[in-house]
C-alpha cells in the first residue's frame, strides 16, 4: 500500500502499568482525511500520542513514508513533517499568538512563507497576534493550535478532538478550515462527534477498548447502522 503515508500495525502501548492499546492498526491514505472513532477512553488519543512518540510503543510498528517511527523521540518525529494538535489545544498561555506560531517554525522562512495561508484560514488570528495565548477564547485557541501545526511544512497533521467544547458556529468554521487545509495535506483526526466526523472524513477507523475493530470509507459507514450503534452509541 504505497499510497498510505502512515501505516500503524498492531501497536501496543502502556501508560504506567495500564495496558491502553492492545493491538491498534490504522492506515492513513495520503491526501485524505482519516478519522479515528470510538467512545471515551477507547484509546484514540493514545493512538495519536503513540504515533507522535509521546507514549512508548512496546510492540508493533508505525511506518511513515516507509521509515519506522517506533522508538524515535517526539522532536525527531515532528521534524519528519508531522504536525500535532493535541487534545485541549496545549496553547502556551504566557506566550503571545505570534510567539506561539514562531516557536513552531523549524527553519528560516517557515513562518513568513505560511503566515498568509494561516491568516487566510483563520482571519481572527491576525488581529489577536500580540495577545497572550491564555487570553484567547476556546475556539480561537483551537484555531491557533491548528495554525501552529501549519507553520512548518508538515505533510501529515494529527488533530485530536478539534470540536470539543466549542459552539456550533465555531465548529462550522473549523470544519471549513480543516477541509481547506486538507487540500494539500494528509489529516488523521480524532473526533468524538459523529456528525462532525461524517462531514470531514473520507476514511474511518473505529477503536474500541484498545483494539481497532473496523475500518473503511466513511461513505460506507453510514450504511453500517449496527456498527455505528454498537461502537459509537449514536442512534
Amino acid at each position: 500500500m504505497s499510497d498510505n503515508i502512515l501505516e500503524v500495525r498492531d501497536i501496543h502501548t502502556f501508560i504506567g502499568q495500564f495496558h491502553i492499546l492492545e493491538g491498534v492498526s490504522v492506515s492513513v491514505p495520503s491526501g485524505a482525511i482519516t478519522v479515528l472513532l470510538g467512545r471515551n477512553g477507547a484509546g484514540k488519543t493514545t493512538t495519536l500520542r503513540s504515533i507522535m512518540g509521546l507514549n512508548q510503543v512496546t510492540q508493533g510498528d508505525i511506518s511513515y513514508m516507509n521509515g519506522s517511527l517506533v522508538g524515535k523521540n517526539a522532536h525527531k518525529i515532528a521534524q519528519l513533517g508531522i504536525g500535532y494538535v493535541p487534545e485541549h489545544r496545549a496553547i502556551f498561555k504566557e506566550l503571545s499568538v505570534r510567539e506561539n506560531l514562531q516557536i513552531a517554525a523549524r527553519k528560516k522562512g517557515d513562518l513568513e512563507n505560511n503566515l498568509d495561508f494561516v491568516f487566510e484560514l483563520f482571519p481572527d488570528l491576525k488581529r489577536l497576534i500580540e495577545l497572550p495565548g491564555g487570553n484567547l477564547s476556546g475556539g480561537q485557541q483551537q484555531m491557533l493550535a491548528i495554525a501552529r501545526a501549519l507553520v512548518p511544512d508538515n505533510g501529515l497533521l494529527l488533530i485530536d478532538e478539534p470540536s470539543e467544547g466549542l459552539a456550533p458556529i465555531i465548529i462550522q468554521q473549523l470544519i471549513a478550515a480543516i477541509r481547506t487545509l486538507a487540500a494539500n495535506k494528509t489529516v488523521l483526526l480524532v473526533e468524538q462527534n459523529f456528525r462532525v466526523a461524517s462531514l470531514l472524513a473520507d476514511y474511518f477507523v473505529i477503536i474500541d477498548d484498545g483494539h481497532s475493530v473496523a475500518s473503511g470509507s466513511m461513505a460506507d459507514l453510514h450504511k453500517e447502522h449496527e456498527l455505528v450503534q454498537r461502537y459509537l452509541g449514536v442512534a
Binding site: 507522535m52 509521546l54 523521540n73 517526539a74 522532536h75 515532528a78 521534524q79 500535532y84 493535541p86 496545549a90 502556551f92 498561555k93 504566557e94 506566550l95 503571545s96 510567539e99 514562531q102 516557536i103 513552531a104 523549524r106 500580540e130 497572550p132 491564555g134 501552529r148 512548518p152
Partner: protein, 338 residues
C-alpha cells in the same frame, strides 16, 4: 509576563509595591531618618539582593523548566568563589601572580575561569547524572544533594577548611564613591550594576530570542514543545548549564567581599530557595523582584538588629519574609494559583 504588565498579575504587583514601600519605610526608620545611614542600607541591600539573584536565577529557571530543585546550586556558587580567590592570590593551588602580575587582569581571569568551570560541571551533572532520572523527580533531589556533598568535599580536599578572606585589592575594589555623604567601595556599585545587567540580560534572552521563547514555552508544557520538533532535552541541558555557570560567576564576583568559606554555599542556597518560592516557583520576574526585596529587607534588619542587639533578627529575615508571603499568598508572589 511583561506583555500585560498590570494585567493578570495586578494583585502580585500591588503586593510587590506594598512590600517595597514597607521595606523602604522600615529602612528609613531603622536609620533614624538619617539619609547617609539610609544610603548604607540601600546600597548594602541592593548588593545582597543582587548576589542572591545570581544564585536564585539559575535555580528558578531550572525549577520552572525541569521541576528540579537543584540542591547543588550553592556548591557551584562556592566553586566560583574559591576559584576566583585562588587565581587572584599567591596562596592556594594555582599561583598565577607571577605570570599575570596585574591584579585587575587576574580578577577577570578568575571570573572567566569560574564561569567556565561552573558551566562544565553543570553540564556534566545534567547530562550524565540527572538525565537518566527524568521520570523520578524525588531521586533527582537526592542526587543533586549527593553531588553537592561531593563538591563540598572536593573543595575541602583541594583548599582545606580555613576560611580565606580577600586581601589582594584591584582597581574597582579600591575605588570609592560617595552617596549622601557616605563613602562606599566602588565594588558594591559594580556588583549591583552586574546584577541589574544580568536581570535585564536574562529578561531579554527570555523575551527576544528563539531560545527564550522555547524556554518560556517549556516552563508551561515541555511535551508540546518537543511535539513541535524541538529537542527539549538539549534545551534542558543548556539552561541547567547556564544556571550553574551564573551561580559560579556569582560566587566569583562575591568573593572579593565575602571571601571563600565552606559555609558560603549552604547559606546562599537556603536564602535563594526562599527567594524563588517567595517570588512564585517558575516565575522569572518573581525571582528578580524577590531577590531585591529580600536583599533590602536583610540590610534593613541588619541595621535594626545592631540597634536592638539581637543579631538573630537579621539572619531569620529571609525565612520570616517567606513564611509571611506564603501565608498571605500560598502560591508565592507571581506563582499560578492552582
Amino acid at each position: 509576563m511583561g506583555t500585560n504588565f498590570f494585567g493578570g498579575k495586578r494583585d502580585a504587583w500591588l503586593l510587590v509595591i506594598g512590600m517595597f514601600v514597607a521595606v523602604l519605610v522600615f529602612a528609613l526608620f531603622t536609620s533614624d531618618f538619617n539619609l547617609s545611614s539610609f544610603a548604607i542600607t540601600l546600597v548594602s541591600g541592593l548588593f545582597q539582593g543582587m548576589l542572591l539573584f545570581l544564585v536564585a536565577s539559575g535555580l528558578s529557571l531550572v525549577f520552572g523548566l525541569m521541576d528540579i530543585l537543584n540542591f547543588a546550586q550553592g556548591a557551584y556558587f562556592m566553586v566560583g568563589a574559591y576559584l576566583a580567590y585562588d587565581l587572584q592570590h599567591a596562596t592556594g593551588v594555582f599561583n598565577i601572580t607571577e605570570a599575570v602580575p596585574d591584579p585587575n587582569i587576574r580578577f577577570i581571569i578568575g571570573v572567566l575561569v569560574a564561569l567556565f568551570v561552573g558551566a562544565v560541571l553543570g553540564w556534566v551533572l545534567e547530562r550524565w547524572l540527572l538525565r537518566p532520572l527524568y521520570d523520578r523527580p524525588l531521586f533527582q533531589l537526592v542526587l543533586t544533594f549527593g553531588v553537592s556533598i561531593i563538591m563540598l568535599e572536593g573543595i575541602r580536599n583541594i583548599w582545606n577548611t580555613t576560611p580565606y578572606s580577600w586581601t589582594d585589592l584591584f582597581a574597582i575594589r579600591e575605588a570609592e564613591f560617595t552617596l549622601f555623604g557616605q563613602a562606599f567601595s566602588m565594588y558594591r556599585l559594580f556588583v549591583i550594576g552586574i546584577g541589574i545587567l544580568l536581570i535585564i540580560g536574562i529578561a531579554l534572552l527570555l523575551r527576544r530570542t528563539r531560545l527564550g521563547i522555547i524556554v518560556r514555552a517549556g516552563v508551561e508544557d515541555p511535551e508540546m514543545v518537543s511535539a513541535l520538533g524541538i529537542n527539549v532535552r538539549v534545551v534542558f541541558t543548556l539552561v541547567f548549564t547556564l544556571g550553574c555557570a551564573v551561580a559560579a560567576f556569582g560566587g566569583a564576583i562575591a568573593a572579593p567581599f565575602l571571601g571563600a568559606t565552606i559555609s558560603l554555599g549552604s547559606t546562599f542556597l537556603i536564602q535563594a530557595i526562599a527567594v524563588i518560592v517567595l517570588g512564585g516557583l517558575g516565575s522569572y520576574e518573581g525571582t528578580a523582584v524577590g531577590s531585591i526585596i529580600v536583599g533590602l529587607a536583610l540590610a534593613a534588619m541588619q541595621q535594626f538588629s545592631i540597634g536592638v542587639n539581637i543579631p538573630v533578627l537579621a539572619t531569620i529575615t529571609p525565612m520570616l519574609l517567606l513564611v509571611i508571603v506564603l501565608l498571605v499568598r500560598p502560591q508565592g508572589l507571581f506563582g499560578e494559583a492552582r
